[in-house]
Symmetry: C2
Subunit: 343 residues, 2 copies
DNA sequence: TTGTAAGCGTTATCAG
DNA sequence: CTGATAACGCTTACAA
């Protein structure tokens, strides 16, 4: 069925298209009777304005574009949920895309989205802020999420990864663990770098010499492999994975090696994705208000569309979430037996 | 920076706008030199076509609209990933929204999206197919995912929930469990209903009288509560949750009650979300090719845009995925001791 | 309060 | 091979 246009409605209601437009939008000056006629006609014809035509005329799209580095896993699921909440609350549409971390692809996507959105919300964990700005070229406001981009030029909603990693590492030290291995995130990922730096800083602050770092990529699989490497190198008594997904993989590896968590090796992650509390044992992690970051960033987008400044963004400080995976270590156990031996 | 238009490019390249358009699109008939001039000018001006204007002219948006009942959890994360893969492969955009299962809201969203997309991909687990078709009113092709909608009128990509539930239940029976409790999904959810029906059918087929059903809503929390109810009613020796999220909640409840899985109570879910294999114990479940459903559905959308029919859709048969959570039950254990007593 | 008409940026038709 | 020009559907001065 061919869609009705504003002309059809005008004809049906016996008014001009201008009157229809006025009656349907901010009907400043339309008499009650005509307004009713128009609304009835529009309803009867099942009229829906052509958004392209409208955006051509108003140069607004009522759409926020979102570019994420990935869509995999609960972290992004949460983030999208927060973003969706906010866009929906403001009756905006959500155009979603991702770039497997490839800057070239990210630029291409940004250009492709540019004419379809009022603002862009980008999570780019790489040092490509200039590229992104270039692709957008000031055509639409840009709001950043995560540590990447050049936060000076654009509002940025990020987390204090370093502080979070310091908190986790210090917590493990406080709990008595001394040999703490670290499964790092992707090498060129800014947030991953900050977490690594926090791990190191916390060790240095206590003059702990033991430091063991393996490379991961934020995926479960790499957590599994990373834990394997750490174990092979002489088991640490705790493993700190730079995100929860890798911690899940590490947990699997520890289990596979017949090691008890936290009895033999304690474990901690980062992000506090929803499933973290349902692991066995529940995972100690750095809690990040994932959905809220999305919400706030969208609201900043909206503000920028309105007044072009939109405010400064915000850095969220992760909250230390202690669960059983970093419970009492070996040295605290009664009579020193390994828990797994008791099974 | 004000965006350049096709006229700016035309001026810069010393040609007409028609030539620019031809050179940039399927440039059937543009001489090499002019084409180069146009491309250069477009590049220099950082020209990006105004998608609204284009869609006004071509009556295509190069966008697929996606409406999901929810965005929460790994199931939808996976689904979106599959959808995104396909849209990206075809250089289409992805307009995402959701409707907390509220049919009225779903209709409103559909109407709002209608003029912005070439096709709609809807997962509606409720019996509101007619409403959806009504909201769209034939303006754009509609492809369904999941059991809802009226699959007769539109291509539908769904899973055989009943067969999956029969497979899980039969597997539990084969493993020696006789008192199998069921945590159901939302009452009005069609897929949930099919799973319930499969559970019952499998019990009936073996003439098992024991049947215990509690109401859930597909969320972790309801799985936790549901398991609590089942335990209070006299512990079953196995629990089958209608999806993995509820199984995760149930696992938590069992753990909290000091029960061993599968030693005291076996557990099974449905969907095989990625995290299922990382639970402890890994979860027995009905494997559904979540991402593939998304991909295939998008491809069907594309086909429908092209030739208006797009083919019949597809019913996927879930695969029984047996993991440790439904391992040997009590009766198979050496000397009949509860495993948890050994701990 | 209502109507007329000028854009908005593209594509496509039709001449040249 | 290229250039005018008419849509496409809507909003918004400007007139009436």
């Amino acid at each position: 069925m061919k869609s009705a246009t504003i002309r059809d409605v005008a004809r049906a209601a016996n008014v001009s298209v201008a009157t229809v437009s006025r009656a349907l939008n901010r009907g400043e000056t339309v008499s009650m009777p005509t307004r009713v006629r128009v609304l009835d006609a529009a309803g009867a014809l099942d009229y829906v304005p052509h958004s392209g035509a409208r955006s051509l005329s108003t140069s607004r799209t009522d759409t926020i574009g979102v570019l994420l580095p990935d869509l995999h896993g609960e972290f992004f699921s949460e983030l999208i949920r927060g973003i969706d909440q906010a866009t929906r609350a403001h009756k905006l549409h959500l155009l979603l895309s991702h770039s497997h971390g490839d800057p070239q692809e990210a630029m291409a996507v940004l250009k492709a989205m540019r004419s379809r959105v009022d603002a862009m919300l980008v999570m780019s964990p790489y040092a490509d802020g200039a590229l992104l700005s270039g692709a957008l070229n000031g055509a639409v406001p840009l709001v950043l999420m995560g540590g990447g981009g050049d936060a000076g030029a654009h509002p940025s909603f990020a987390i204090d990864n370093r502080a979070g990693a310091v908190a986790i590492t210090s917590h493990l030290l406080d709990a008595g663990y001394r040999r703490i291995g670290f499964i790092a995130g992707p090498a060129d990922n800014i947030e991953a770098g900050q977490r690594l730096s926090g791990y190191r800083a916390a060790l240095a602050a206590r003059s702990i010499a033991f430091e063991q770092i393996v490379q991961g990529d934020f995926g479960e699989r790499s957590g599994f492999a990373g834990a394997g490497l750490l174990l092979a190198a002489g088991p640490p008594d705790a493993i700190f994975a730079a995100n929860d997904m890798m911690a899940i993989g590490a947990l699997e590896a520890l289990r596979g090696a017949g090691l008890n968590v936290p009895g033999d090796v304690a474990l901690a992650g980062f992000d506090d994705i929803p499933v973290a509390r349902f692991l066995d044992p529940p995972l100690t992690t750095a809690g990040v208000p994932i959905a809220e970051i999305g919400r706030r960033a969208v609201e900043c987008c909206i503000a920028m569309v309105a007044d072009a400044t939109g405010g400064p963004g915000h850095i969220f400080t992760p909250e230390l979430v202690v669960r059983a995976s970093s419970g009492p270590g070996k040295q605290d156990r009664p009579n020193g037996r390994l828990i797994r031996e008791e099974v």
